[in-house]
């Protein structure tokens, strides 16, 4: 009797699985049910050129200073707010922070001449000022991810008077010459690297990331077809590819500038010889509490590329947090929610006060 029941169950399982595979496969091929990313409610606080500053709705803003999230120039900032229940911004809001996010926008011909100075000495100080104006706060906690951390780091180092109370950087490759060859600045600085807008095309950026581990792309596709009957997996896959496959153009002048700065394996940031806007920018000028978060399995910005950060800053209060995660897994996914994000939040809450 029980054997017969098992057989029925097995048949039922196969039918159910096949039905889900057909449904999910058809929807995927037709491009239906694409998940909406970045759903947390927000308002536009300020805009300058293509740069938008958003403030996230939160009825429980109980911590100060406000938090300013700075994304990389390579991908869209939706990674901070992928889906309800899988959103760093949601976690920050729940913890009581007043969250602002800087969206650089997609560079066009007018942005092709943007240099590091444009971002570090114009846009970031402008965003800090707009944030403090909107909140009445004396300063902000600046939170930069990947190349956004790189820009935040240089901006605070070059503008020590800027109203930044804490600096948090995640997966920040301050020493790219120690990282993967495929992402070295010189690779994007040759004349053939630029498109008709004068920027590095998004496809070139995506290809560079794929070549880090060419078979990972194949494995991801195989896993997807293998687990096509798993609705949760299909959704997670769509969410991650929805963000991860949409790179944006990288500003041409910044690519050329980085290529020149890091030519022949040199690193003027580590050597403390960096000149931006005609003045020396030394990370020793960073004296605010500083947190660097690095992923032990990060193959895009390996630990070695972030290692010099702590020695460079002049802060007395400086911490490196190593977590068992990859580049995106630092704050995306279930493991991040349990293992990585709590450590980051603990530090940030400890360096905040009642609003």
């Amino acid at each position: 009797m029980s054997e017969r029941k098992t057989l029925v169950e097995e048949v039922g399982d196969v039918v159910g699985s096949t039905r889900r595979r057909l449904r999910n496969g058809t929807r995927y091929l037709l491009g239906l049910d694409e998940p909406q990313l970045g759903q947390s409610p927000r308002e536009l606080v300020a805009r300058r050129d293509k740069v938008h500053l958003y403030r996230y709705a939160n009825d429980d803003r109980r911590l100060a200073p406000p938090l300013l999230l700075v994304m990389s120039l390579v991908t869209r900032p939706t990674v901070f707010d992928l889906q309800p229940g899988n959103s760093l911004i949601e976690r920050f809001c729940e913890s009581g922070f007043d969250v602002f996010m800087l969206d650089w926008g997609e560079p066009g011909p007018a942005d092709a001449e943007n240099t590091l100075e444009t971002y570090c000495d114009e846009y970031l100080p402008w965003a800090v000022e707009a944030t403090t104006d909107a909140t009445g706060a004396a300063g902000v906690t600046m939170f930069g991810y990947c190349f956004g951390g790189f820009l935040s780091f240089l901006s605070v180092a070059g503008n020590p008077d800027m109203a930044v109370e804490n600096l948090v950087v995640l997966a920040t490759p301050i020493a790219p010459e120690r990282g993967p060859e495929q992402l070295r600045p010189g690779r994007f600085a040759s004349a053939s690297s630029f498109d008709e807008t004068g920027n590095v095309p998004a496809e070139a950026m995506r290809t560079a990331f794929i070549t880090l581990d060419p078979l990972a792309e194949v494995t991801t596709r195989i896993d997807f077809w293998r687990r096509l009957d798993d609705d949760d997996y299909v959704l997670a896959h769509k969410v991650m590819t929805g963000w991860g496959n949409h790179h944006i153009r990288f500003p041409g002048a910044t690519a050329r500038q980085l290529g020149a700065l890091f030519a022949d394996g040199r690193n003027p940031i580590v050597d403390r010889t960096l000149q931006l806007g005609g003045r020396r920018v030394d990370a020793a000028n960073i004296t605010v509490p500083f947190l660097s978060v690095v992923g032990e399995r990060d193959h895009i910005a390996p630990i070695a590329t972030s290692e010099p950060l702590l020695d460079l800053v002049g802060s007395d209060d400086k911490t490196e947090l190593r977590v068992p995660a990859g580049h995106v897994g630092l704050f995306v996914g279930r493991t991040a929610a349990k293992q990585c994000v709590p450590g980051i939040l603990d530090w940030m809450v400890a360096h905040s006060r009642e609003a």
């Binding site: 050129d49 066009g108 011909p109 007018a110 942005d111 092709a112 001449e113 114009e122 993967p180 060859e181 495929q182 690779r187 040759s190 053939s192 690297s193 008709e196 807008t197 004068g198 070549t211 880090l212 581990d213 060419p214 078979l215 990972a216 494995t219 195989i222 293998r226």
Partner: protein
Amino acid sequence: MAQDRTPAAMLRQAYEQAVRELGPRLSELTASDGFAEVTEMALAAQARLQQEIERRSRRFLHFWNLPAGSDVTVLRREIGELERQVRDLTKRLEDAARDEGRRP
């Protein structure tokens, strides 16, 4: 623990084994200077080919008094240049206004 001997599982194991052996070699290859040079050469060749196609199609379209893709590119660049000048002027005005406000 019994090993899964179904064809799908065996195929998967074979693939994983191949990834373990091939993956690092492929990553090493794409990291090499040679790969970067070949990629650059391919991109340059692609750009030359595209320029040639554009040149021919432009001739044809201009003959019929129609705009070509390259005309749009030129226009986009000029608009970009104008946008940059507007940004620069805006910034100068803001700086001037800030300096004015600071004067006693």
